[in-house]
Symmetry: C2
Subunit: 764 residues, 2 copies
């Protein structure tokens, strides 16, 4: 039975569709207290006093804690310390100390017998502020009063290679654009939540809801609490979406378990939407000053980008990952002889930033691909042709780009970029006619195309255990976590393949730090690649061991046996042993076990990988602009994407479609705006607009498997982000095309109010 | 640092003494329902009807189930199927089918929103019985109306060797006694309890409270419920005593998880004391017709015993283990040239029986040692001298006794029985004077001595995992369970020794089927021997691996390194690596791991053993009989016990002292009596008398380590039962001595009412 490549129905849907999923808020512990965070109402102020008296006095309130109670607790460390920057001066404390630096920053926490009392009490905590004036613009922040003693520039990153100055000097045409990407982020259906229960008798702490990188978060928490790691057990739960922000270590990830331990009662916290919109990592906000040097024939000679990355008030767990990725991925799938990228990571009085699905690529692809459209028009070259001319050709792959990102060398591992471009262009041939027809009706329609490079499968490793029971059932203890992406199904397929069993007979346990203490978590489109490869190695090891044990049981040479359909079979039909029987033969005390051979038919394997693997794709959008309102409607959308190998094509398609929906949000609707005092203007879904089914067209997908990755045993490349990476670019290009703009659109999101200013009628 | 042999304070007391232990009833699940069992009120009757209408109608009642609902569920299987007897016709169903066979048998179960409603509703279940007449006497039951279609004799066991007929024919003196051992059992401070929670989304079932043999119980439950084993997780809890009955698979162990799954709600059940006294395994009830053949010089020539073993209404999980052990252990530490033991296992309308601490040895030692005292008097030989003359001498050890029990050959592995006897006799030299002084005051005082053989360390194997964290902490996932015996401390010591760490740095997790799926549980004085040896092997493997990894890290040959005090040290002080650093070097992705070497500094090892190991001991009691009431007071008590090697002498002594207290109960006070209709007369602690501190003297102990077991790496023999084994014998002998009886005491317990009939004044 072959599992790889099958459109197996999602195993997790058995429970999710019946309402039997278990999310963080579904965890209830008898006697639990409920936490409510008191959040700063000033964007930048010195804390004069925090009066907790009234809150403490409210019946049902168990405790109110402030920064004073945690002044000896270390700030939250960086998880991904790329580039070796010292960010220690910019880290966020778990509760504000002396100053607050953004509206929404935790300044106190109330614990009460029920969540309503906790919320009421939180409103009774009186915080007095001495306003220090909000620093809100990334550009001007560099010279503004300092948020931190170390200033407002956390890091300056320079990535590049080649002689850019010479390239630009030699250019026939230089095209430059200034482009802003709006501040927005993921808004998963389910806000965050956490439940912690401390057993004072054994000193063990159990935590539910840390769904993303539970093993890392355990390490951080152990260090902050001064507990041995093995005393802490984190359980990932079902999660209503991850997309980057969920599961990073936030102040609440300390406060909830710390208070559970301190108070000797379980503590539960469920984030509400208003909190979510100011508390979780924001993302995306960058200003790009990008310029490209072209020869007369459209050959790209050099690329420069100067990025101001507005990171908000603190450096959080991602450190400078997003600006670094922005720069490292900016050259994309193109032949870029010389490149100079600079990013200044600036702090402002806004919610701190982290990753959001396709971090750096959404921003950089928009900048580059929008520039290319402007350049093509300027050069008088067809926009597709300009790209085709500059794409790396298959014979140039693998392509070592003299850059380093997230501690890895950039080696574009496998691909035929022009072929995928041609496939996409052929697919949308009819769309051009549709645009023409719409225009003939006097409507503002346009087509936008963008080519992009993705990255996925960040190592350095992940570990998995595969275990077979005496009843023949297979279990996987994986280091991944299930954020809704279907990873249980994919890992079950990956484990099932070498064992020849039905993926339905495989149960995948994700994100339990006790069962898999070495898990790397699910992020960066790494689960199928890295966790999946670990599962494959472990399943292969189990299969090999099953055959070895079967040889002992059956008394035939191993070479005469093979594993097929969950049965080890020999030369004749009577020579057979099921996997379950092989597992039974590995029970302790079995005569079939060799000396010191551990009991149980199981194996743990680690998959290690040095480089990321680089999928790539093409987005095409057909958009129409309403001349009266400036509203943009995306009428058609195509994602063509190369994944090397699709373990489950349906899930890859699902990832792409979902990504496009979020891409439409980032391109047209979603934006965290602030007033001049740093008060957030988008603190509910009335103001923070996310696309619904009405705003999302039927997305067409082409998933190709032309270039399997040579760097992992599955040949896969991650597919988690490719639906989003080029959405800003493709939609911006379509709007520009619809409006016939000579230059760029200037900024995302292309909200109606912004687009109306771009309308020819407005310009004229 | 040496851990073995140290009087390390019990690690578990840190929580237990602070009230932070977690017992089954401490587990509460949100939304839990509460179970109450409806128990038969007739001893032997056909079920005419069960009317659940009124119970169902009571507000708060969720479900009422009867035998009809579980008629397709297999009966509870035998766990220890010794001797190959087919007991399938005598197994207990989870709820009575058609007939009830003892008062207390589960006939229905009520589940309600709170335990009080459940109890009220249980009383509203109307059961109509057609009385079939109670069969209550083991002796007459063999010819009485059948309880089961297959009759009332479940099995007849014959064990023996040599030519007994010839031995008796050649005898100078034959001494015969008929002795009854009263029905009693363990009454741990904490009655049983169980909590089950089924997650319909994942199909996983979690159960708390199965503290004894959770891995076995999981297998049984999986089979009865039709679930894969790995979907069920059993957690042993702290337990207020085990002693044999606790943790076996009882009807409630099915009903609670089955109803949790069926109703989709957690279900909790806590046994009350009245239930406990009729529901858990009874034990001990046997009639012995024992006779011994002696040469004129007191040399034992042959031994015969005919045992009627009253097993109550069903064969439970122990099958015929207790009668088999009774026969197999009866020859004890003596040279018995010919032996013939027969046991008839008879069913009666009383609570079914199982093991109680020192099963078969309490009974058999009483029979043999009481007989020896009568024989010594008859032969005119000193009672101690008669024993000394017949004890196996050290040069006869190891002694292969041509018997088989629990599937193992009886090989008395190591010992110097006469030496221990001499030690004990020397210790109590002054006690003879005390008896004389009491007698001189006209008081009825007597000294009783008994020598006994114990058995322990039943295999065939146990499995343990030892894991070292990067913070240097050590964790053990053991197959044992913690019933109060201090096993956490002992296993921590055993793991600490080869690693050279403080036992306090070792955390032992017992009885979690997910963490240790191969555990054999704690029973039969096996934990230190078998689970402990597995822990030692795993710890040694971890130590070895730590040194190997250190050699790679430090770049020196393994041979130059050794592990001491938790540090791997080389020839010079700078060559050193802590265990934690070695563990960090085993993290996934570490360059110090070999290819396919699983991540993590851990090891799983199985200890296998063919034979049991046989500790032995001497009990001496100084008792006084109140001439007015017949009340017996134990004034002094000595246990001398050989354990091979005491990992923690304090805990061995504690085991011995606790055993004596229970022995006093069985010898003098505890008895389950029934009226003629089979109604239990001891259903509360008003009637079932257990010794308190007032009835228990200060127990003196001598723990010797003269004869380490050659069969395990620790040299240990189990110490769980030796405080109890000879208590009936020693106290009966003391009473007989006090009363100057020419024959035997006839029966245990020697309650005041029984003793008064033995008083010389009464006899005369």
């Amino acid at each position: 039975m072959t599992s790889d490549g099958r459109r197996v129905r999602r195993l997790e849907d058995e429970r999710l569709l019946r309402g039997l999923g278990r999310f963080a808020d579904d965890v209830s512990r008898v006697g639990a207290l409920h936490l409510r965070v008191v959040r700063a109402q000033a964007a930048h102020a010195r804390l004069l006093s925090i009066d907790t008296g009234q809150a403490q006095a409210l019946p049902g309130v168990t405790a109110v804690v402030t920064g004073e109670d945690v002044k000896d607790v270390a700030p939250i460390p960086v998880r991904l310390n790329v580039g070796g920057h010292d960010l220690s001066a910019f880290l966020q404390p778990v509760l504000a100390q002396d100053k607050v630096r953004y509206v929404g920053e935790p300044v106190a926490a109330v614990v009460a017998e029920d969540p309503y009392v906790a919320e009421d009490a939180a409103e009774l905590v009186e915080v007095s502020y001495d306003d220090l004036g909000a620093v809100l613009d990334g550009e001007t922040a560099m010279a503004a009063p300092a948020l931190h003693e170390a200033g407002n520039v956390a890091a300056v990153l320079d990535l590049g290679y080649g002689d850019c100055a010479a390239a630009f000097a030699a250019a026939d045409t230089v095209v430059a654009l200034t482009l802003d990407v709006g501040r927005h982020s993921a808004v998963p259906m389910e806000p965050r939540g956490l439940v912690a229960d401390y057993d004072a008798g054994t000193g063990r702490l159990e935590i539910w809801g840390a769904t993303k990188v539970p093993v890392f978060n355990r390490r951080v928490l152990a260090s902050m609490l001064g507990l041995p790691e093995h005393r802490i057990r984190l359980h990932a739960m079902d999660a209503g979406g991850g997309f980057g922000p969920r599961g990073e270590f936030y102040p609440e990830d300390f406060l909830v378990p710390w208070l559970a331990r301190r108070l000797g009662r379980p503590v539960k916290w469920t984030e509400d939407r208003a909190e979510h919109l100011v508390a979780v990592n924001h993302s995306r906000q960058q200003r790009h000053r990008i310029e490209a040097a072209f020869a007369a024939d459209g050959t790209l000679l050099g690329l420069r980008d100067d990025v101001v990355h507005d990171n908000g008030a603190y450096m959080r767990t991602h450190g400078v990952l997003v600006p670094e990725l922005t720069l490292a991925m900016l050259p994309g799938p193109y032949r870029v002889p010389a490149y100079a990228g600079r990013a200044r990571v600036v702090l402002t009085n806004k919610t701190p930033c982290g990753t959001y699905r396709a971090p750096g690529r959404f921003e950089g692809t928009f900048a580059r691909e929008h520039l290319f459209d402007v350049a093509a028009d300027r050069l008088g070259v067809d926009r597709v042709e300009l790209r085709r001319r500059n794409l790396l050709r298959p014979e140039e792959i693998p392509h070592v780009r003299p850059l380093n990102t997230i501690g890895t060398d950039v080696v574009l591992d496998a691909g035929d970029y022009p072929k995928l471009l041609d496939t996409a262009v052929a697919h949308v041939a009819g769309w051009r006619e549709e645009v023409a027809a719409l225009r003939a009706e006097g409507r503002l329609a346009g087509l936008g195309l963008a080519v992009f490079l993705e990255k996925s499968g960040l190592g350095p490793h992940d570990t998995a255990d595969v275990l077979v029971g005496a009843d023949g059932t297979v279990r996987v203890h994986s280091g991944g976590t299930s954020l809704g992406q279907g990873i249980e199904t994919v890992l079950a397929q990956i484990a099932a393949e070498p064992l020849g069993v039905d993926p339905r007979a495989v149960e995948v346990v994700n994100g339990d730090t006790e069962l898999q203490p070495f898990g790397g978590g699910s992020w960066a489109s790494r689960s199928t690649v890295v966790s999946g490869s670990a599962v494959r190695l472990a399943a292969e090891a189990v299969a090999g061991r099953a055959v070895r044990v079967a040889a002992r049981v059956l008394g035939v040479p191993e070479s005469e046996l093979r594993l097929a359909d969950g049965v080890i079979v020999g030369a004749t039909p009577d020579v057979r042993l099921t996997l379950g029987e092989a597992a039974a033969a590995c029970a302790p005390g079995s005569p079939h076990l060799a000396a010191d051979e551990p009991a149980g038919l199981s194996a743990r394997r680690t998959f290690e990988v040095e480089h990321m693997t680089y999928p790539y794709g093409v987005h095409v959008a057909l958009a129409e602009v309403d001349q009266g309102t400036g509203g943009v409607r995306v009428r058609r959308y195509l994602v063509a994407y190369e994944v090397g190998r699709a373990i489950n094509p349906t899930l890859v398609e699902g990832q792409l479609v979902g990504g496009v929906a979020q891409g439409i949000g980032g391109a047209l609707m979603e934006e965290f705006r602030y007033d001049d005092n740093g008060q957030p203007l988008a603190a509910t879904f009335m103001d923070y607009l996310v696309p619904t089914a009405a705003e999302t067209p039927r997305v067409e997908t082409i998933v190709t498997e032309d270039a399997p990755s040579p760097d992992n045993p599955l040949g896969v490349k991650g597919a988690g982000e490719g639906g989003l990476s080029a959405a800003g670019a493709a939609i911006a290009n379509a709007v520009r095309d619809a409006l016939g703009l000579p230059g760029g659109v200037g900024a995302l999101p292309l909200s109606a109010s912004r687009v109306i200013e771009l309308l020819p009628s407005h310009v004229s």
